[in-house]
Structures are given as structure tokens and as C-alpha cells.
Symmetry: C2
Subunit: 151 residues, 2 copies
């Protein structure tokens, strides 16, 4: 392993949670970019596919809003996924302003592989955590995220 | 408070740490952008100023490397801070390829205000955490960041 010791030294010394969150975010993004390159998608596309694999028919703006994403960014990512034949976008029959998203057959077929990648990165992040520690960390992160939604 | 309940519902249900980290990162960035707008700087500039207020004379590439930042991004941010008269960049007398950074008088004068902003956001994020919980969360985040550096 060619680990840069200046990084590990910094991590050991820093006591500011925002800095650690930001570092982890960037390192995770980098790893996702590398893993997803062969599918010609980025992290934003990955997230949309995962959200739809969990529940289809969600509205495009609803997805953006509930997770604090920029609506224009989500719209652009969805347009690319549509172009790639992975996602279908349809107007809601009751309210034509609402766009409902679903996966195509190809999109659905891709999801297990993508989930595997996501789960692999997640497992790597909590390496060395006991089940109890892992559960407690998620509880803490959830409380921090809830506070962040009040910022 | 005009809190979007779809956000809080999502946070309560999600069990994926990467999603919570990414949400917290985005919400924090948004808050920083708002707070820093009046200084005409962004989050990246803020970080560089905070790093230098902690220790002057650090090298530009060293700062990038130890925190996993993109070197070009740091170079651009430093150039802007130099232009604004907040940071000074000098070649290392021993090795002219190394750029050493220090704060100008104006940069040093700005730091207490910026620290106050950073500390305010940090305090908001850990609202409701006891000292013990706060310390444990930082320990967990440090372990996660260490794992992230291995990705």
C-alpha cells in the first residue's frame, strides 16, 4: 500500500468533524468515480439509479428536494440516464408538471452490480467497526445530518 | 423554521453512512457559501486561510496532498487569495519549486471572524451531543476517514 503518511498524520491530529466529513466525502467520491468509469456514469447518476431501484415512480423534483440536491443537477443527470436508456421519465397523468421516473429493463439489470460497488465502498469505510459501533456511528451521523438540515 | 419534512423523513430512514456524510457535506457547504459570500470567498479559500492561521509557511502542494485536495484547485484558490491581498506566496529559498504560503496582515486580521463562522457551524452540527458523545463521534469519524484514505 502506497499510503501517503501526511494524510494519515493529518487525520490523526484533526479534531474538527466538518474537516473529517469533507475529507471522507472527497475520498469516497474519488473511489466512486474510478469504479463507475467503466459504466460511463458518475456518482450523481449512481445515486439516482439506487434511489429508483429502491422505489420506482418517484418524482424528479421530489428526489432532489428530499436529499438536498440541486434540481438542475438532478435534471441533467436524469436526462443523461434517459439518453443512455437506463431511466424513463414520464409526466404524471394527474399533474403534468410532475415528472415520474422509472428504470428501464437495462437500468434494472445494471442495479445489482452498482449496489455491489456501493456496498463494497460502504464496507471498506466501516472496516474495523463492531456491529454495535457501526450502529452507533449511523445514529450519530443521522443526528448530525438532522442538525445540518437546520443550518 | 421552514424545514422540509421530506428531508427529515429521508434522514430518519436512511441507514447508509455514505449518504448521510454526503448530505451533511452538501448542507454544510451551502451554509458556508452563504456565510462567506460577504467576504467574497468560498469554502476552499476559507480552508486555506484556516490552515495558514494554524501554521504559516506550509507549502502549497503539501497542503493539497495532506488533505486529499486537488493541487490545481488549491493553486487557483491561493492565486485568488494572493490577488485579494490575504495570502503571500514565496519560493522556498532551498528549493525554488516549493511555494511557501503565509498570511498578509489583512489575512491575519480576517482569521478570527472566519474562525468564529467555522466554529458556529461546527457547534450547530453537534447540537444535542454530550461531550462524551461528541468525542466518540470524532473518534468514529477519524476511523472512517482513515479507512477512506485506504480506498
Amino acid at each position: 500500500m502506497n499510503k501517503d503518511t501526511s494524510v494519515t498524520r493529518w487525520i490523526r491530529e484533526i479534531t474538527i468533524p466538518t474537516a473529517l466529513i469533507s475529507y471522507t466525502y472527497r475520498a469516497t467520491q474519488k473511489k466512486f468515480s474510478k469504479e463507475l468509469a467503466r459504466y460511463h456514469i458518475g456518482w450523481g447518476h449512481f445515486i439516482i439509479l439506487m434511489i429508483l431501484s429502491d422505489k420506482e415512480g418517484q418524482s424528479q423534483d421530489g428526489i432532489a428536494q428530499s436529499r438536498g440536491f440541486d434540481k438542475t443537477m438532478i435534471a441533467k443527470s436524469v436526462a443523461k440516464l434517459e439518453e443512455m436508456g437506463l431511466v424513463r421519465r414520464e409526466n404524471d397523468p394527474g399533474d403534468r408538471r410532475i415528472k415520474r421516473l422509472s428504470l428501464t429493463k437495462a437500468g434494472r439489470a445494471l442495479c445489482p452490480e452498482l449496489k455491489h460497488i456501493g456496498f463494497g465502498i460502504y464496507s471498506d469505510l466501516v472496516k474495523g467497526f463492531s456491529d454495535e459501533e457501526s450502529a452507533r456511528m449511523i445514529e450519530y451521523l443521522r443526528r448530525v445530518a438532522m442538525n445540518a438540515s437546520d443550518l
